[in-house]
Symmetry: C2
Subunit: 491 residues, 2 copies
């Protein structure tokens, strides 16, 4: 069975993830046909079939979860008049350098006003909210959009991680009180754990971002950092407490129980992004290719009939029998192409199909089949009579096993330091630094710049779930510490 | 029970559909909160929650059906470089007057090349196809996109029917032979019947469109016309035989079994559009509001507890009991708001919820509940013990019943005519005209113009499934008839 091949076949990945992550990721994207960067606009990428199928499953899970938590979907135009855009001063300052502008249409030429391709939807949506929300009875008002956004990014683009057009879900909510809004922020963080840790098997931790790194227009930003290993982090979904910063310029008001007209308190949140997919495949993948949680795999079980001349029909019949056993419960496929068996193994491992079932004439004689699990490579021989039961068991445990293996304990990544030199050493040793800091307000920005320049990491902010109180002074300036922050390298 | 109200409540529709369709539709859209036209860019509309939920269900059904027929999804950038756009001459001529152009980005100002907001995806996608398709083994190559398109429409926009940004699914396919492509066109027409007639309950008929009315760049266009009643039609999904018209300029080639390099034969098809939703609600709706097929309703069963003072808890407990009976199978909701019972009835009828269950203290004494079906208003009293069984039965038949009522037989709309005056009369009498015509090639364009001017209808083309051969001459010019065509008023 394919033992003629010892060399890596055309479909295999040739670079080790540990040795050169960046080259490994590029090869994974190309060989598993996940994205194509040859589209002829810089920074715009085609997501191919296999990636689209999984991303869609991720979105569906997110949408279902949001709807369970009483968010309803809306469909908004993707263009925003320039005038909307200028209503919230901080917001426009943050996004203006990144906007694509539509200025012309058809044969009639110039449009009377420039239209932004939405970089995010606040300024489009809140104009409508001011028309829709009338009374305290309308609150909480919880909505979401599944859409794409465009940002004229200066940084290097990388498929799924950063591009000039990307797909996401954004939720936008209005409450009668600041407390209500803050409760939503907490719910959003819980939702993020449910999606990223439970479904995608990516370990995360939430930080309250420093003032200089928050969403343009927000009171506070709470962002999930994925723990990508070796102390490196990647920003994933964030949720933003907007307070009344947008409600006032956009006139989002309601008549309260006491008959008075008041401004609403708002939050916004981006639970799903193409970037979640990028983080997942980068984090879980190995040198054979993709590793995918069971629910998110476009094909969950691949059946490989091992065909010897003269015995084709019997083997294919058996393969079909097995296919029929599972087709109503799982996404199953028989690979009866004329590729070699070895190439088929490599190919479906590259694609990350969780379970492979091999069936050949010798197996049939012994009334057994061979099962191989993708994520750990374990190979079983199982009596046909127990096949259904065994597959059920594997399915039940598959994603759980990936999680057990891959969820990093945050504390194990962290090193507490009291001096700058120790911080540099810790960062270089692949650790996340925990230290005292002046504050996370703008007055500490100068210290943060020094962190970036001298330590080679970024201040990720204050941990949300728990704050250590053991640092007397700021790591950088030596003044009394106002808080404890974490510093890490980021993708 | 709500018999204090005889007047139409605030939530009800005040215009009769039969008397003034246009005003009725506008009121339906506003009162049922399906769309909001107050977004501040002309021709751009917000789709609200209730519409978004149904449209998403329609898309899911379409996507599932396409995937069952071996199409796979892709995600493409929504911008297309101007240079791609100019490769197919007919295509650019057709779409140039309708394109929105992105010309500027960020603070860096003018882009080196104008970027089109896709009006349709051929010119983006086929560039990639030429990179992806190599061999006959890659064929047939069947893909689809779920995305939105932008068109700078001159015509009056109307929510869901026509707008400057709309959502659709487009499928794009490549075959080794013209016959293979034609088979796809037939499959597409079958898919359209499955989606529009079977799922959405809209009667349709396919015409091969005349040369002057085909998709820009196609060899032939086959379009579904919805039969909206009284002889009026509305163009819904169409499928296009592209032949090699795009394959040549976009270099979509494959190496055939004989080792020779050949151009592929292509088709494209738009099975789902926001317009399908518009057609459905316009066609099925009545003077009480929306009527929706069971599967497509955002809420399928609404439970209304009828609450008398002192008996609230007992009634609400019973409502919850009923809710629990159905919640795992259907989308159920209890309306326990403090609106009057009558207003609740009106509201959920307006929203088109298929089944209403009423439960009050008197019903509870008699151990029965009341069920009301939205589409025909039938009201049953049923013993509690039989509730589950009865609901199952109603669910099974609900959409079928709508179809029986609403699917118009095409022939019943048609009148065969042999003279122009008779055609004018038939059109004025709300009929679709069937007549002899020179041809549907460009040489008959002059006759088609006269049809539009003098008869007040449009030549919809040749019927695809069956052609009558009983007309000797062209209705307009009297020359020998080359074919039989249908003329109708259209929305």
């Amino acid at each position: 069975m394919a033992n003629k091949k010892k060399e890596v076949p055309l479909t295999g990945i040739t670079v080790s993830k540990e040795e050169d992550f960046s080259a490994w990721y590029t090869e994974l994207i190309n060989k598993a046909e996940l994205a194509d960067i040859r589209y002829n606009i810089k920074g715009f990428v085609v997501y191919r079939e296999w990636a689209t199928l999984t991303i869609r499953k991720m979105y569906k899970k997110t949408e279902d979860l949001l709807e369970k938590k009483d968010h309803l979907p809306l469909t908004m135009p993707s263009l925003i008049p320039e005038s909307n855009f200028y209503l919230e001063a901080q917001h426009v300052k943050g996004f203006a350098p990144e906007v694509f502008w539509v200025t012309e249409a058809g044969s009639s030429g110039k449009l009377p006003e420039r239209l932004a391709l939405r970089p995010t939807s606040e300024t489009a949506l809140y104009k409508m909210y001011s028309l829709w929300i009338r009374s305290y009875k309308d609150l909480p008002f919880k909505r979401y959009l599944s859409c794409q956004v465009w940002r004229y990014e200066g940084k290097m683009t990388r498929p799924f991680f950063r591009g000039r057009e990307f797909h996401w879900i954004e939720s936008h909510n209005v409450f009668a009180t600041m407390e209500g809004a803050m409760e939503q922020v907490k719910e959003d963080m819980e939702t993020t754990y449910q999606i990223l840790q439970d479904e995608c098997c990516i370990p995360i931790i939430f930080f309250q971002r420093p003032e200089w790194d928050k969403f343009a227009g927000a009171v506070h930003t709470y962002a999930a950092d994925a723990l990508m290993g070796s102390g490196k982090v990647l920003q994933l979904p964030s949720t933003h407490l907007l307070g009344q910063n947008f409600a006032k310029p956009f006139d989002v008001k309601f008549v309260d129980k006491d008959g008075e007209e008041k401004y609403g308190y708002q939050t916004c949140y981006g639970p799903a992004q193409s970037r979640n997919y990028g983080a997942m495949i980068a984090y879980l993948g190995d040198d054979k290719g993709l590793v995918l949680p069971f629910d998110l795999a476009p094909i969950q079980i691949i059946i490989i009939p091992i065909i010897y001349k003269g015995k084709e029909k019997r083997v294919l019949d058996k393969a079909n029998e097995i296919y029929n056993l599972f087709k109503d419960k799982y996404i199953v496929k028989i690979d009866d192409s004329d590729e070699s068996v070895g190439n088929k193994y490599y190919y479906w491992e590259l694609k990350g199909v969780p379970i492979r079932i091999e069936i050949g004439p010798k197996d049939m004689e012994k009334q057994h089949v061979v099962i191989v699990k993708r994520h750990d490579g374990l190979r079983f021989t199982i009596k046909e009579d127990f096949l259904e039961e065994k597959i059920e068991e594997i399915v039940q445990n598959y994603t759980k096993e990936i999680k057990e293996k891959s969820l990093i304990d945050f504390e194990s990544q962290v090193e507490c330091v009291y001096e700058k030199d120790a911080a540099v050493e810790a960062i270089n040793n692949g650790k996340i630094v925990c230290c005292g800091f002046c504050s996370i307000n703008m007055d500490a920005y100068h210290c943060a710049e020094i962190v970036e320049k001298d330590i080679g990491g970024f201040v990720r902010g204050k941990r949300v779930d728990y704050e250590k109180h053991e640092f007397a002074t700021c790591l950088i300036c030596g003044k009394p510490a106002g808080c404890t922050v974490y510093i890490a390298k980021s993708y």
